[in-house]
Amino acid sequence: MMKSAKRGCLLVALLAVAVGLPGCGVAVRQAKNAVDFSRHEGKFGRYGRLTDQETQWAKVAWRYFENNTNPESGLVNAFDQYPTFSMWQVGDYLAALVAVHDLDLIDTLEFDRRMSQILQFLNTMDLSEKSLPGRLYNSVTGKMVNASNKPEDTGWSGVEIGRLLTWMKIIGLRYPQYREYLDKAVLRWNFCQVIDDAGTMYRVSRSGEKRQRTQEGRLGYEQLAGAGFAAWGFDTERLWRVARMESVTILGVPITYDARDPRLTGEQAPVSTMPWVLLGMEYGWRYPGESRSGVLINIDARQLAEQVYQVQEVRFERQGELTARTDYQLREPPLTIHDAVFVAGYPWNTVTADGDSAEERALVSTRAVFGMWGLWPGSYTDRLMQAVQNLFNPERGWYEGRLEQSGAAQASISLSTNAMVLETLLFKVRGQLFPHDTGIGYFQHKLDNVFERRVQCLPPDRPISSAEVARGS
């Protein structure tokens, strides 16, 4: 590609001398752009090969993984030097791993070594209640632990498993050599409790003898996680059809939020950047399964994502406050921060999982900045990037962000943020990350084998939805 472009340039240069055409640099750049654009799946967001500076960003992010991978087991800490991780973070790690391999920052040998290790873990790890990946694992021993990193089975999370499913599927499709083993890992699981026939996802919280199963996921993350299940054949279309939504207008922009009341359910329903960014980069804001009902899906995820982006840009224009908000995790209590566009009844609100105000923790989030920069090219996201592009320790990775109130760095270093840097840069080169499905693999063969069915509530075990029955299909 480069070679022919250069030769072309010479020709153009000769012509330019002859007839005074614009310089050869412009022509080459245009040719390159066309190539880059054609490579970019989905044709939205920022595209193009990485600049030197962007490659440097990727290297810094990968540094995190180099430092935090247990060489014996291949497991990666979710926080710098702290040995726990969740299934969400395994998903993030897989995304980062695909990115560095695709971006040529690691060779295929290293990629395969790391893949082999993570496949081994996925196929041998202890399962919570012997049925599903647990909430949290220890990266030194590979055992399940509780929030204070002591061995315990504390249950599982449907939303986190959903994200892991997304990346297990993406890798299975992009790298067919691993598909069988990813399928086998998924076939170890029992889906009866984690997702019901209507696509609603659940979490189980266990503590001693107590066990509680509750619906999990709010607008944004619910659709993102549901897409992960849909990628494996589960019908979660209903989440895209009959979501319970309300609307509020912030700075003139209509913002859609989840109508389930946190005061009644105990679960916050924030409007923040990340779920919409991930849904965009990974799925192009489209439901990945087939629409069995034939009814038009009525959540326009792209529209909702645009709104969340727009209102933050407007806030900067009108009020001069640089805004890139999303939820984030801390190693120490309060652990989860919902740093939101809208949450718990208020715009530009920042609360903990319990709903306590944590205004002082509002961030220009590195993760959100990268995501917005990747999907919405323009002067605002350039401005955002300017604000965070030096927020890293070259030897440990990217920081979480910059505190809105003081401008100080929030210097905690997490897997998810560093994975997002890599995922964004991969998106810039490749476009939409979820590829088209290519043929059937071990998973489907296994599902098709009616003589060997176990009670796992896999897609074929699910009843046909009432809508389909009504249409007589």
């Binding site: 430092n67 935090n68 991978t69 247990n70 060489p71 800490n77 030097q81 702290y82 040995p83 220890n138 990266s139 030194v140 021993t141 632990v145 204070s148 990193n149 002591k150 061995p151 120490e332 030897e395």
Partner: protein, 469 residues
């Protein structure tokens, strides 16, 4: 190239750190291999010697910090020199020169300072400190940071371990100090040791540190703390050169290209002998002749033999080490071999300064205790009266007949005390009943919210290194 060669050798002899590497050099014995070591209660002369050496540490204690000056009356020190001070305290205690209370106070003061002193880039102890104020300093004792030395830290780890085993009351505070260290740039998973220095642009650079003898000695400190040093512990890459009929091993990494001299001296072999009996770091058997990696004792015997032979052939009394001077350039590597020449004496920049060739007192006394011979009797007589009763033992005696080098150092007097203690007690690393302490528990802890992963180095799986349960 050098690295390829190195890997080639390790592939041929795929054995873990410390095992004999066979074919490279036949380990035929030199006569020194059959010499006994000196052991037994100290004579009056030897006790007097110890008291004089201890005088240095009485004079040079900084009460503000608990540290002693590395050089008489000059308030600067390094981790190597501080390790020699700790060795001196142990020797003075065990030989009855100070009582247990004085000993305890001196050690506790050093450890307390360790636990509050600032580190180079918050990573590790700086190469040098102001011994009074405990500020990080450069080599001119001006405030500033200059890097860290894996060799110095390795020796310090050895003495911290010896103290933990002998005086477990200090174990917890010592562990707290070592837990402050950031090992990320110090040792990697291949078990190679790295030092840090600032380049011309004042940017920090981490480079492999340690040459044959010193490298393996320092590695033992890390092994004692459960950190694998596979590559550092191997004698390769080395070559040999023959002088006075003895082939001497030296480090094959070219000093012209690496800015580290490959000096062959007595000091590291002496320290390895008196602290470890030339055995592997975690060896628990105290029998001198118990199995040990063949090469280390063999190399030590050769370095000794070459010096004895030089005296026999040329009449020049020889006991070589790096040592201090009482004039510019203040410090020389006074060697059996370095940088291409046998019996080479150079400054740290490599300048040839044969006029400073000398009998190093610490080397002489170390050789005296490890090799009982007519020659070391002579060495002893040569040095026994080379002291200032007010200040301690002199650094060395010039070969050219111009008398003693009138410098006094913690390292020289400390190692002399160590050597005397070896005569009284044998191998200085005495295993106590130490149970896994704060260090082991913290390092092994996978669970709990204080858990911290250290994936940058490999843990040893040597059962001998594991503490007695």
């Amino acid at each position: 190239m050098r690295r390829l060669l190195y890997l080639g050798i390790s592939a041929l002899f795929p054995c873990l750190g410390g095992c004999a590497t066979g074919a490279k050099m036949a380990y035929e014995d030199v006569p020194a291999a059959r010499y006994a070591q000196r052991s037994g209660a100290l004579s009056d002369t030897e006790m007097k010697m110890a008291r004089i050496a201890w005088k240095y540490f009485e004079n040079n204690l900084n009460t503000e910090s608990g540290l002693v000056n590395a050089v008489d009356n000059y308030p600067s020190t390094s981790m190597w020199d501080t390790a020699s001070y700790l060795a001196a305290i142990v020797a003075a205690t065990e030989l009855g020169i100070i009582n247990r209370e004085q000993s305890h106070d001196r050690i506790a003061a050093v450890i307390a300072t360790f636990n509050r002193m600032p580190f180079f880039r918050d990573e590790l102890p700086n190469k040098a400190y102001n011994a009074k104020t405990v500020e990080k300093v450069d080599y001119t004792n001006k405030p500033g940071e200059i890097g860290f030395s894996a060799i110095d830290l390795g020796r310090l780890l050895i003495w911290l371990k010896i103290i933990k085993e002998r005086y477990p009351e200090h174990a917890e505070d010592i562990d707290r100090f070592v837990l402050r260290w950031n090992f990320d740039h110090l040792v990697d998973r291949t078990g190679t040791l790295y030092g840090a220095h600032l380049n011309k642009e004042k940017k920090v650079e981490y480079v492999q540190e340690g040459r044959l003898g010193y490298e393996e000695y320092a590695a033992k400190g890390f092994e004692l703390w459960g950190i694998a040093t596979e590559l550092a512990s191997r004698p390769e890459p080395y070559e040999t050169v023959t002088t006075y009929g003895v082939s001497i091993p030296f480090d094959a990494r070219d000093p012209r290209k690496t800015s580290q001299h490959n000096y062959v001296v007595s000091e590291n072999y002496v320290l390895d002998g008196i602290e470890f009996n030339w055995g592997i770091a975690c060896e628990r058997n105290t029998n001198v002749r118990h199995y040990r990696p063949e090469w280390m004792a063999n190399f030590a015997n050769r370095v000794y033999q070459a010096q004895e032979n030089r005296y026999r052939d040329s009449g020049i009394v020889t006991a070589r080490s790096e040592h201090q001077l009482d004039q510019d350039p203040y410090f020389v590597y006074d060697t059996v071999y370095t940088d291409g020449f046998t019996w080479n004496t150079i400054t740290d920049t490599g300048k040839h300064v044969p006029q400073f060739a000398a009998v190093s007192l610490k080397a002489a006394l170390g050789m005296w205790v490890l090799w009982k011979s007519d020659y070391t009797d002579l060495l002893f007589q040569n040095i026994v009266n080379t002291y200032d009763p007010q200040k301690g033992y002199y650094e060395a005696i010039l070969e050219n007949g111009k008398g003693p080098i009138k410098a006094f150092t913690a390292n020289n007097n400390g190692i002399m005390l160590e050597a005397l203690l070896y005569k009284a007690q044998g191998k200085l690393l005495k295993w106590g009943k130490g149970k896994p302490g704060l260090w082991e528990k913290t390092l092994d802890e996978a669970y709990g919210d204080k858990a911290k992963t250290r994936f940058s180095f490999r843990r040893t799986n040597n059962p001998l290194c594991a503490n007695a349960q």
